[in-house]
């Protein structure tokens, strides 16, 4: 592979990381946050594979049952590491999605800011302390969306076919 190709791959990997991190910082939707995490992880994995790449080497699989291998092979360790990293990423993303599902069920929103406000309100209510944040906030309950109606109710309200 040409020198240019390698740099392009590097730029691609770092670009994925940058996009993913920017998404993590800017996105407010929980699902998008998880997707952004996945994008960033893809970038990091690509970077890891790049770290083991050798110019003109073949995949680390011995062909034809011969223990003699004249051809240079790429570093197998980063490949194994990537395998591990991918699986770890899958696990974490699944967990994050499950949490998002539950959060939406409870608070009726996937918006991080709203969820955070509800969470803080819940923490304060559970602790029984007065809110410590803003003293200027309008008194009374904050205008947060009501929880989504349960699926059973959706089903009931739909015009029956």
């Amino acid at each position: 592979m040409s020198e240019f190709g390698l740099v392009a791959l590097l730029v691609g990997a770092l670009g994925l990381i940058a996009i993913g991190i920017a998404g993590l910082v800017l996105a407010r939707n929980l699902f998008r946050l998880v997707l952004a995490l996945a994008v960033a992880e893809a970038g990091a994995n690509l970077l890891l594979v790049l770290a083991g790449f050798r110019q003109g080497a073949s995949a680390p699989i011995i062909e034809g049952g011969s223990t003699l291998h004249q051809v240079a092979m790429v570093d197998p360790i980063p490949q194994a590491m990537v395998l591990t990293a991918i699986v770890i990423g899958v696990g974490v993303q699944a967990l994050a999605l499950a949490l998002a599902v539950r959060a939406r069920e409870a608070y009726g929103s996937l918006d991080m800011d709203q969820l955070r406000a509800r969470m803080e309100a819940d923490i304060i209510a559970a602790a029984g302390t007065a809110p410590t944040t803003s003293q200027e906030a309008p008194s009374g309950a904050r205008p947060l969306p009501p929880p989504l109606p349960s699926p059973a109710r959706i089903a009931a309200e739909e015009p029956s076919s």
Binding site: V92, L99, R102, M119
Partner: protein, 490 residues
């Protein structure tokens, strides 16, 4: 035996959901008891010489090694004991928990991962087990199943994953530069390859990544949210145990691979800011759990500062601070099981539950470092380590530790005043909480009484931990248990 400390809890965790109900009750604690025994043996053996095992019998720079020095053995023991004391049990209101098996599994996974973090001598392996501890931690943190806990855990998960991502990039950098992952090998290679901006950038990324779990300043804003919403026992595990092990991993990297002033100063500055922000935020806290969260941020900042001091003195101080916090903070979180919530509710609680109040006083006194409790010795070692360094940033850190201790004393004594005050609050009574933290209190007092006996082994451990050459020699010359494996195996 070294590998068993990791393999046994993992095995138990895998099998736990399959077992009959009776066996489920006892398997976990039994395994943890075994691990505790292993940990004691390892620590005892390591006082003569650290032991090394090459997992899979592959010679060290190729395969993964587990290195059991005194500190690792001690932490394995502590992990098992603390996990046992914080073993998830019925919910505070006494209802049996239908999810208890899952919690037990996750707790065992967490214990196994912690042991591996203490023992592992391979950078990527540390990353993997850090992740295991993290995922198990996320699961447990969400385990209280309140919506707030789920949102907090979601935020925690994202932050932790981003941290892990950065750590992975850091590991990539280091591997790319040095071509190895084995810590001993890296220690040999480091002076020629890694002590440059590139290597330090790798260290920085790993520090920030692992810092998430060890409540490093800048990446610790998850702590108050999660500790306020998770079950107290889980908070105790996260704050008491997991944070220390993540810290220990960073310290191994710092000592073996990056013994350069820049790296120490990074730790020092971040630790100092952690102390300042944590203790001051705790000063204004109005509910017990978040107060503990902030206070533990401060304490871990102190541990970072201690480990930043180069040489055995700093490591010794760090171990002392970390172990002390390990004894006190879980116990306080156990008290929070009953006392979580508004601090004003605690008014007059000492009359209803004198034992719990007395325990709180004991822990508070040790936290602020009243002699002859162990907290004093930890603080003394930390401060004398800092005073032994040249003036400047180090002394500033000492000043920060001293002044924040005053702040800490004020907020802790405010609670003591509330507890023993003359107003009436609304706090219920429950017996289990006192038993758990009572055992921690006994440990604490035991440590105080036997301090002169414990000092020498502790010093030995710190010297071992600081001994990079010894580490490298031990690992590189690690004896493979069988000379050539392919022929002998059936």
């Amino acid at each position: 035996m070294i590998a068993l400390t990791v393999a046994l809890p993992l095995l138990a965790a895998f099998l736990l959901p399959l077992l009959p109900a009776l066996a489920r009750q006892f398997l976990g604690p039994l395994v943890l008891l075994a691990v505790a025994a292993f940990g004691l043996c390892l620590a005892g053996n390591a006082l003569d010489a650290p032991s090394v095992v090459a997992i899979g019998d592959f010679r060290p720079p190729l395969g993964i090694v587990f290195y059991a020095d005194g500190v690792a053995g001690l932490f394995v023991f502590a992990i098992a004991v603390v996990t046992l004391l914080l073993w998830p049990c019925a919910t505070p209101n006494g209802q049996p928990d239908p999810q208890i098996t899952r919690k037990h599994s996750l707790t065992l996974l967490m214990a196994a991962a912690s042991c591996a973090l203490a023992l592992s001598g391979d950078l990527f392996n540390i990353y993997v087990f850090y992740e295991l501890a993290a995922v198990a931690g996320y699961g447990l943190a969400a385990g209280s199943r309140t919506p707030a806990a789920q949102v907090a855990t979601f935020r925690f998960t994202l932050l932790g994953s981003l941290g892990s991502l950065l750590a992975l990039i850091g590991i990539t950098l280091i591997y790319f530069r040095a071509g190895s992952l084995n810590l001993a090998h890296l220690a040999e290679l480091a002076p020629s390859t890694l002590h440059d901006p590139l290597g330090l950038a790798g260290f920085l990324l790993i520090l920030l990544g692992f810092g998430v779990k060890s409540e490093l300043f800048l990446v610790n804003s998850w702590a108050p949210e999660v500790y306020a919403t998770a079950e107290s026992r889980v908070s105790a595990l996260l704050a008491g145990l997991i944070s220390k092990l993540a810290l220990l991993a960073v310290v191994r990297l710092l000592v073996l691979v990056f013994p350069v002033p820049e790296a120490s100063q990074l730790l020092l500055v971040l630790g100092m800011l952690g102390i300042l922000t944590g203790e001051l935020a705790a000063y204004r806290a109005r509910d017990f759990r978040r107060l503990l969260a902030w206070s533990s941020i401060g304490q871990l900042g102190a541990a970072f500062v201690a480990f930043a001091i180069p040489g055995p003195a700093g490591l010794m101080a760090g171990i002392a601070v970390a172990l002390h916090h390990l004894m006190v903070k879980p116990a306080l979180f156990l008290l929070a099981e009953r006392w979580g919530g508004n601090l004003a509710q605690l008014a007059g609680a000492a009359r209803n539950s004198p034992i719990a109040a007395a325990l709180f006083v004991l822990f508070a006194l040790s936290l602020i470092g009243v002699p002859p409790l162990p907290g004093f010795w930890a603080k003394y070692l930390l401060l004398s380590g800092l005073a032994g360094e040249p003036a400047g940033l180090w002394w500033l850190a000492g000043l920060v530790v001293l002044t924040t201790t005053v702040v800490e004393a004020v907020y802790l004594f405010r609670i003591i005043g509330t507890l023993y005050g003359h107003q009436q609050g609304s706090v219920m009574q429950s017996r289990t909480a006192t038993t758990g933290s009572g055992i921690f209190a006994l440990l604490l007092v035991g440590t105080a009484l036997s301090a002169p006996l414990l000092a020498a082994p502790l010093q030995k451990m710190a010297t071992q931990l600081a001994d990079t050459d010894g580490y490298v020699a031990q690992v590189i010359s690690a004896t493979i248990t069988a000379p050539q494996r392919s022929g002998t195996a059936p």
